[in-house]
């Protein structure tokens, strides 16, 4: 059984990254389990890197944006399906 799907939004505009740095692995792969507070990506704006965190535990079902896409504020980044 799958629980409720929750979308993770970017609070700020900027460039989206799934990796902590270019030579590292992605924070989370699609299908991975995440805990509340886990970092799933970064948004870069004004030379700051803002960590996007999972707001609830569950499985990160899907990313809705690609690496290095420029996001608008409020744009949907990923879907997390809650554990049931």
């Amino acid at each position: 059984m799958t629980g409720a799907a929750k979308k993770v939004l970017s609070p700020i505009p900027g460039v989206f990254y799934r990796k902590p740095s270019p030579d590292k692995d992605v924070y989370v792969k699609e299908g991975d389990a995440v805990k509340e507070g886990d970092v799933i990506g970064l948004v870069e704006v004004m030379k700051n890197f803002y960590e996007i965190k999972a707001e609830a535990a569950g499985v990160l079902e899907k990313f809705l944006v690609n690496e290095e896409d420029v996001l608008d504020a409020g744009q949907e980044i990923a879907v997390i399906v809650a554990e049931s």
Partner: protein, 325 residues
């Protein structure tokens, strides 16, 4: 006292700026959107130059340790007190223990939090504005951090009744596509005629490099007129002999991406400045986000001065309305 529970993305103390030191290389800093700062200060009865918090893209969480009168102006980052939505552009009362937080940004980029009495930080060269690149002004010369405590000052001039509201004609509207008025020059002669025309006929997209120092735009490459390198100028065609950069001036290093220099920018250098944003439209520029579009529109100095005059008259009219209440 106001306690910073969470600082937001970049929250700084700003007033009208550190005016009068430009020739020694000190930019003014100060609120990016001066109109919104002024209206915020009016709504709480402050001296117009009182320091407020400038909040960018993402709001802080602030806990008031004492009763206070506040107002929030600028772009739309919906504010909440103890989790309940509260209006912007209105005089609000908060009680000791209340917590101010914000939803995601809806429109615009910067919100001003004015507090009756002003934010009390030391005056540095006549201003309380934060200039982060030099680490001066504001709170220890830096953006707010978790755990900071801000004192409330005594720059209150009037008592403004709670619930006083700015009428809609005084509230700016925001768009994802913006016209920004520019005076052509000082070094526009360096661009080819075709590039000069292109500069004013395409939509430029604001990149992620857009902050208090300047905004960088993506669009298309601009070309410079061929010339023999003058003595004292750099070798790139976009270089000229060093000159002062007006605030709002636009340069195009190597012709690749135009940069509009803003409140915290370098005061001079060796790039050709092809135009300067008129002072009135700097407020509008301050509310444009990464990924939004700008179309530059050429105006002459008379039109720029007229816009400035109308902006001043608008503030005078607002003062009359507010203080008749």
């Amino acid at each position: 006292m106001i306690k910073v529970m969470s600082p937001g993305l970049q929250t700084t103390v700003q007033d009208n700026g550190r005016i009068g030191y430009y020739e020694v290389g000190m930019p003014p800093s100060g609120a990016m959107d001066k109109y919104s700062l002024t209206v915020g200060n009016l709504l709480v009865g402050n001296d117009e130059n009182a320091a407020a918090l400038e909040i960018t893209y993402m709001g802080p969480v602030l806990q008031f340790q004492e009763d206070a009168i506040i107002a929030l102006t600028g772009g739309e980052i919906p504010p909440k007190i103890n989790g309940q939505p509260v209006p912007m552009w209105e005089t609000l009362s908060v009680k000791a223990g209340d917590e101010l937080s914000f939803d995601f940004v809806k429109q615009g980029a910067r919100v001003y939090l004015a507090v009756a009495g002003g934010i009390d930080v030391p005056l540095i060269m006549g201003s309380r504005s934060t200039y982060t690149l030099c680490g001066i002004g504001g709170l220890e010369g830096r953006p707010l951090e978790q755990g900071d405590e801000l004192n409330i000052g005594n720059q209150s001039k009037h008592q403004v009744p709670v619930g006083t509201r700015v009428q809609s004609e005084f509230i700016p509207s925001f768009s994802k596509v913006n016209e920004i008025r520019v005076i052509v020059g000082l070094c526009s002669y360096r661009l080819t005629e075709e590039s000069k025309q292109r500069f004013f006929s395409i939509d430029w997209t604001v990149t992620t490099e857009a902050n208090r120092v300047g905004y960088r735009f993506k669009g298309e490459r601009l070309n410079f007129v061929e010339r023999e390198q003058p003595f004292g100028a750099g070798s790139n065609p976009s270089n000229v002999v060093d000159l002062g950069y007006p605030i709002g001036s636009i340069q195009v290093p190597d012709g690749v991406e135009p940069i509009a220099l803003l409140n915290d920018a370098v005061t001079g250098g060796g790039y050709a400045t092809v135009g300067t944003i008129i002072s009135t439209d700097l407020d509008k520029m301050a509310q444009i986000k990464t990924n939004e579009k700008v179309r530059f529109v050429a105006v002459d100095i008379e039109e720029a001065l007229q816009a400035r005059k109308e902006n001043k008259q608008k503030i005078e009219k607002l003062k009359q309305q507010l203080f008749q209440l």
